[in-house]
């Protein structure tokens, strides 16, 4: 036989016992050619372009999923940051019209989320950027599929504190406007440092200006396959690393095959495979559980950072051996409410906000899907964003903040967003204010390590 029985059975086991899947196939679409005379005409062109490019997208993904026998969990679209297409006289009504056009386009295309309602403001804020950021709370309140990502810092530009402060207030406003859903609008809003333009994960996905007309990017499977590999390995950390690398190699190869095949059928370019292991609310699909299978008694205990560093590095090594085009975030995502195991450890007090911040230094991607008290001060949220951005610029990596200041909730209260965004406990946030520092505004200049010319 061309393949051994062991090989075929290993594939069967990974797919049907260990829940190997492809987490997301994300179609990036450039909207740079959609700028019209006003917001209405731009919105119309945006809808037309997405209809033209994405009409066969879900069908192609479903066919590839069926023929390869690989479940594909999400089909998504990412577009050019919308601040770039607001034209010469940007107004909030224009931005809102585009937001609603994106929402309708996502629904018509059959995708669950569409990303790109954002701006790149790490060095300066244009009039269009300002209008876009001001519109985010309304846009997220009036939609359910739209996602927003704003990049406020980069290693090369430094941290735009003015943008940090603006975005902190937008996080608060979004929570207030969506308070009936426990501030769930914030689950679709990420504030980034070093945001990549080929990230297939929401809420941070957008189609970078450096990208082509349309691109297919793929996010690989979740932690359950890695967990099974770790569980089966009783040896030293060297052997553990090898086991993780082997599993990551296979997961990445599946992701690449799916991405290339979908791109070929649609006649668009294949972009990258993002090797991030990203949890879901499904039992066993948890980064915390992987760490605990590695031997740390409870995720959050001393040793967790080392275990996560080794885990992420091994996944990267396996993934990069498997596929030349590795990109996006390619780390380990820890969206707390979406990771059942992590959420439990946060509720127990074993995993803390400070430990999550420490983990940012060894994996992507910052403080993600964390419920904080509804009365958390805007300056405190700005401080959290600035801290994450600082880790990002100094370590030349992507970081982000996606926190939900849940209206009316106090530390220890539980919040259930339902479905994809999961549930969690509101965590305590230090009450001492960074306002005096952040009110200074301005630009924390580029990291010295970025001056490499």
């Amino acid at each position: 036989m061309k393949f051994t029985a062991e090989e075929i059975l290993e594939t069967f086991r990974m797919l049907h016992v260990e829940s190997l899947d492809v987490r997301s196939v994300t179609l990036g679409i450039s909207l740079l050619d959609c700028v019209g005379e006003d917001g209405r005409s731009t919105a119309s062109r945006v809808a037309g372009k997405i209809r033209e490019v994405a009409s066969g997208f879900v069908g192609a993904v479903n066919a590839v999923s069926s023929e390869l026998g690989v479940p594909i969990t999400h089909r998504r679209i990412a577009v050019t940051p919308v601040s770039l297409i607001l034209g010469s006289s940007p107004r909030r009504s224009d931005a809102l019209a585009i937001a609603l056009a994106l929402e309708r386009s996502a629904r018509d295309a059959g995708v669950d989320l569409i990303g790109g309602f954002g701006a790149l403001v790490e060095k300066g804020i244009t009039r269009a950027d300002s209008v876009l950021m001001d519109t985010i709370p309304q846009a997220l309140c009036r939609t359910s599929r739209l996602c927003s990502a704003v990049n406020v810092a980069s290693t090369r530009a430094g941290i735009n504190l003015n943008a940090v402060n603006v975005m902190a207030s937008k996080v608060k406003e979004t929570a207030e406007l969506t308070k009936k859903e426990n501030g769930a609008g914030c689950a679709r809003l990420s504030v980034f440092c070093n945001a990549p333009g080929d990230n297939p994960f929401m809420a941070g996905a957008f189609h970078g200006v450096e990208e082509g007309e349309a691109t297919v990017n793929v996010a690989i499977s979740g932690p359950s396959v890695i967990r099974a590999a770790v569980e089966a390995c009783g040896g030293s950390v060297d052997e553990l690393s090898d086991a993780i690398k082997r599993a990551a190699f296979k997961m990445t190869r599946v992701g690449e095959l799916v991405g290339r095949e979908v791109a070929r059928r649609m006649g668009v370019g294949f972009g990258i495979v993002d090797t991030s292991i990203a949890p879901t609310t499904a039992p066993g699909d948890s980064i915390a559980e992987v760490v605990e299978k590695m031997g740390v008694e409870r995720c959050g205990a001393p040793g967790t950072t080392a275990a996560v560093a080794m885990l992420v590095d091994s996944v990267k090594k396996g993934g990069m051996m498997a596929c030349t085009r590795v990109g996006g975030l390619s780390g380990a995502l820890i969206p707390v409410t979406e990771d059942g195991g992590m959420s439990r450890r946060v509720a127990e007090g074993c995993m803390t906000l400070e430990k999550l911040e420490a983990l940012t230094s060894v994996c992507s991607v910052g403080l993600d899907m964390i419920c904080i008290p509804g009365d958390t001060d805007v300056w405190t949220i700005a401080g959290m964003i600035a801290d994450q951005a600082a880790i990002g610029i100094i370590n030349d990596k992507t970081t982000s903040v996606r926190v939900i200041p849940v209206p009316g909730k106090k530390p220890g209260d539980t919040v259930d967003f339902g479905g994809l965004f999961g549930k969690g406990v509101v965590v305590e946030v230090p009450r001492w204010s960074p306002a005096g520092f952040l009110r200074r505004g301005g630009q924390i200049s580029r990291a010295a390590r970025s001056a490499r010319n």
Partner: protein, 88 residues
């Protein structure tokens, strides 16, 4: 696409090979290789088929229906996935 791998998993009983291979023949696909194995306490039949005179969907429907009658779980996959996962 010319080749697929069929994996049928279930409790061993009389007629599994006949039932599945009949369905493959009716769908117009040609069996190129066939072997059996075990997965824990289950019987596993592995078949490589050439699809040139059949369609993927037609074959998938035929063997899935045959598998259901035999109490077998049947998965049909293009061979590319095995090449991607198991060949460097």
């Amino acid at each position: 696409m010319t080749r697929v791998v069929i994996t049928a998993v279930g409790t061993d009983r009389i007629g599994i090979v006949a039932g599945i291979s009949n369905a493959i023949a009716r769908a117009g696909a040609n069996i190129e290789d066939l072997t059996s194995s075990r997965l824990e306490d289950k019987f596993v039949m592995l078949i490589v088929c050439d699809l040139r005179k059949s369609s993927f969907e037609e074959l998938r429907r035929a063997v899935t229906a045959a598998g259901e009658k035999l109490g077998m779980s049947v998965v049909v996959q293009r061979e590319e996935i095995f090449r991607a996962m198991h060949r460097v």
